[in-house]
Amino acid sequence: MSVVLTRSDAEDFLIKEAGLLDAWKLEEWAALFTDDGEYLIPATDDPEGKPGTSLFLIYDDRHRLEERAKRLLKKNAHAEVPRSQTRHMTTNVVVGEGKDGVVPVSCNFVVFRSRMEVTNIYPGHAEYLLVNNGVGLRIRSKKAVLDVDALRPQGKISIIL
């Protein structure tokens, strides 16, 4: 089955996702994923690494990414109390060739994170596998690859990129 996804449709979807994250609507963000969805961030010194072979920073299956969202909303998720202000910038959206109902989409991102008078920047690119489940687009896989070779000065990733 060939799938046609225009760049502007893909871009609208990614902008919607970014808006949910910046509004801290994290459970709504998790709901964008398919039942077998995954969310990945490779190590900063092994950006080409494969999950299951290389130690990733984030290796979330569907259950864990939803739990990540729920956790970050809790009052005792200390790293995000008080919550960060974030701003996700999404650009350079490219739609690849779909196959078997799955369309690869890539984009560049920059996320600004401010908290307790400190601002950090997370630059990178993201690789998505999107599917249309009949109701709308859903994320089968999101891999955010950072353009930094160490988390310095960012220190941690307690927001969703």
Binding site: I41, P42, A43, T44, D45, D46, G49, P51, G52, T53, S54, L55, F56, L57, I58, Y59, D61, H63, R64, E67, R68, K70, R71, K74, N76, A77, H78, A79, V81, D149, A150, L151, R152, P153, Q154, G155, K156, I157, S158
Partner: protein
């Protein structure tokens, strides 16, 4: 920087070790003072054995890793004869780094500045315009890269020491060697560092991470959301409150300590304690792995290796936490209020792809800068550091838990006092400081 250099008495006085009154206090100046950091560089990091890397990171002739250890840029190489080398990564000519890559395989390192070239043993190979120097300029290794004063291996873990007169590594490790042995024994064919390192930073004093890494008392208040995750995934009903109040802690000598329990904690261990959230299909393999350990090591040691959860601190800045996965973590202070952290996953060589996958998933459910727990640890250390701006008026940390106990548990603080007593001895230069005690 304070105006005057502190006396040994003043430095020793930064810690109150009142054994009769069961009070142990650490003056918060030790977390903020530039003079203290300068003394630590001289008396701790330049004198103690520091973790360099694992033999598996340099598997073949020509393999190299470049990394900072104790603030110094080093090259860790395996040479053409199979020998390990620890070299200062600094050109014999003007001192530039001769290697800018993190890892790889090569037989020659050429400085980018004037193209002086050295082999993987550090030996000078060549330079443009050699004739402008006298014929004997390169005799007696005079233009070689400098070897780190000492380098020794213990069961695959390689350490360096910048003090030529240091005691042998095995003596330095004292009782901690047994605990590195439990990790080394996990793999029937040895252990390896998994690719993908966690390189991050914490805006806090380095000593706070050593304390935190072996602190069972903070587990429930700081990490409640992690335990929520486990309950949700494993459909389990364990209560968090008692989890860490058992187990035991030990002084392993020379400032090293361990916090340990066997078969008590609720998370799964890829090696080898099955968790319901891994699914029934994983159970058979995990049980098979465990049977293999028991056969290889015998039931007693096998149980310790397979079911034991251990947080090991090796003075001054190495942590080996063998918990829901096994991490090797080291850190170094750039400033009193800022450290760089490097952490790795160590795993049995040759484990199945399914077991390795479970291990890597399990590692980051808790550990690392994007795990469900480490970011909250970092937050707590940074909040402590912010609080130490009040050190002059609110001067002391309290580390007295369990001083009255004959059998301190994981929620007590003997393991931290063990670290601090060694720190006090080295930083003050007062060799009469007692390293043992409650």
């Amino acid at each position: 920087m304070r105006e005057q250099t502190s006396s040994p008495q003043e430095l020793a006085g930064l810690i109150i070790d009142d054994r009769r009154g069961a009070r142990f206090k650490v003056n918060r100046q030790v977390f903020v003072d530039d003079e203290i950091l300068a003394l630590e560089r001289k008396r701790v990091f330049s004198k103690c054995w520091l973790y360099l890397g694992h033999v598996s990171e340099v598997p073949a002739a020509g393999s190299f890793v470049s990394r900072r250890v104790g603030g110094r840029p080093l090259l860790f190489t395996r040479d053409r004869d199979g020998q390990l080398n620890a070299l200062y990564n600094t050109c014999a000519h003007r001192g530039a780094l001769v290697c800018r890559e993190r890892a790889g395989n090569k037989r020659a390192f050429t400085c980018g500045y004037h193209a002086w070239t050295f082999d993987e043993r550090g030996r000078f190979i060549g330079m443009p315009g050699r004739e402008a120097l006298p014929p004997d300029a390169t005799d007696d290794c005079k233009l070689d890269l400098v070897h780190v004063e000492r380098m020794e291996e213990f069961r695959g873990f390689v350490f360096v020491c910048f003090d030529r007169n240091a005691v042998p590594l095995v003596d330095y490790l004292a009782g901690a060697g047994d605990y590195l042995g439990y990790v080394a024994d996990q793999g029937s064919d040895g252990m390896e560092i998994v690719t993908g390192s966690q390189d991050y930073c914490v805006a806090a004093n380095w000593k706070l991470l050593q304390e935190n890494s072996v602190d069972g008392y903070h587990g429930v208040p700081t990490h409640a959301t992690y335990f929520d995750y486990l309950r949700s995934r494993d459909k389990a009903t364990f209560t968090g409150v008692n989890m860490n109040s058992k187990g035991w802690v030990k002084n392993l000598g020379n400032g090293h300590a361990v916090s340990e329990s066997i078969g008590l904690l609720p998370w799964g261990r890829p090696y080898a304690r099955w968790a319901p959230g891994w699914g029934e299909e994983a159970k058979a393999e995990v049980e098979e792995i465990q049977r293999g350990i028991m056969e290889r090591l015998g039931p007693e040691r096998g149980n310790v290796v397979a079911n034991g959860d251990r947080n090991l601190i090796i003075f001054p800045n190495l942590v080996v936490n063998d918990v829901m996965a096994t991490t090797v973590r080291t850190f170094y202070p750039v400033r009193p209020d800022y450290m760089e952290v490097n952490a790795w996953c160590i795993a049995p060589k040759g484990e199945s792809t399914t077991s390795r996958d479970r291990r890597l998933r399990n590692f980051v459910e808790f550990l690392g800068p994007a795990g469900f727990a480490s970011p909250d640890d970092v937050e707590m250390l940074e909040l402590c550091q912010r609080g130490y701006a009040n050190a002059e008026s609110a001067p002391y940390n309290d580390i007295s838990r369990g001083m009255l106990s004959n059998a301190p548990t994981k929620t007590d603080e003997l393991q931290m006092r063990t670290f601090w007593r060694r720190w006090r001895q080295l930083v003050s230069g007062d060799s009469s400081v007692e390293l043992t005690g409650p």
